[in-house]
């Protein structure tokens, strides 16, 4: 098996795990679950691009992976920062909550 073909298979395998994660995004149930899905898709997409880079060998692909890694977080951060019930502060500035979080 040539190395290019091996990397293609690996990319295909990772793409399939992406589709598994996609089931979670469709099911939800909460908005946070879907956002987790997006975060996962960002990481996995970066990995697929890196593998495609190994197949094709053109250095532009690596820039794509870099941009993807940098901007995949923007959506998640936007979501957590501006949507209702989320715009509060990190613990460093928040008054410490009195009760422990539920052990779930």
């Amino acid at each position: 098996m040539s190395s290019g073909s091996f990397f293609s298979w690996a990319a295909l395998g990772i793409l399939c795990t992406l589709l598994l994660a996609f089931i979670r995004v469709c099911r939800g149930p909460s908005a946070e679950d879907r956002l987790l899905g997006i975060q996962s898709f960002g990481t996995v997409g970066t990995a697929v691009v890196i593998l495609l880079y190994l197949v094709e060998g053109s250095s532009g692909y690596l820039d794509v992976a870099l941009v993807m890694a940098m901007l995949a977080a923007v959506t998640v951060i936007t979501f957590t920062r501006i949507l209702p019930g989320a715009g509060d502060v990190d613990p460093g500035e928040a008054p410490a909550p009195q009760s422990e979080p539920p052990a779930s």
């Binding site: 190395s3 091996f6 990397f7 690996a10 395998g13 990772i14 795990t17 992406l18 598994l20 994660a21 089931i23 979670r24 909460s30 946070e32 679950d33 956002l35 987790l36 899905g37 975060q39 996962s40 960002g42 990481t43 996995v44 970066t46 990995a47 890196i50 593998l51 880079y53 190994l54 250095s59 690596l62 992976a65 870099l66 890694a69 940098m70 995949a72 977080a73 998640v76 951060i77 957590t80 920062r81 019930g85 989320a86 509060d88 990190d90 613990p91 909550p97 009760s99 979080p101 539920p102 779930s104």
Partner: protein
Amino acid sequence: MIVFDLLSALFICMGVFFFFASAVGLLRFPDTLCRMHALAKADNLALGCVILGAVFQQTDPLIIGKLLLIWVVTLLSSATGGFLLAQRIRRKHLAQQEAG
């Protein structure tokens, strides 16, 4: 060079495995925080494996640097995004407790 090729293949296989594990975790775990746990750990480890596998194929230090930069950026954004999401979930739980 065959050693590097083998190492590279090994790491990429590990990466695929961990991606699979994280997808299964995301799919099967019972609640959001558990799923986040599966995702945040396994996904970044898997990306690290794939990048390490790719590094073994390279000789150009610039390319290796770029690959490592990608990993660092992903770790950082995933940590921040995960933290912000987890904080949001926890606050929601607390609000539910107070209400119930």
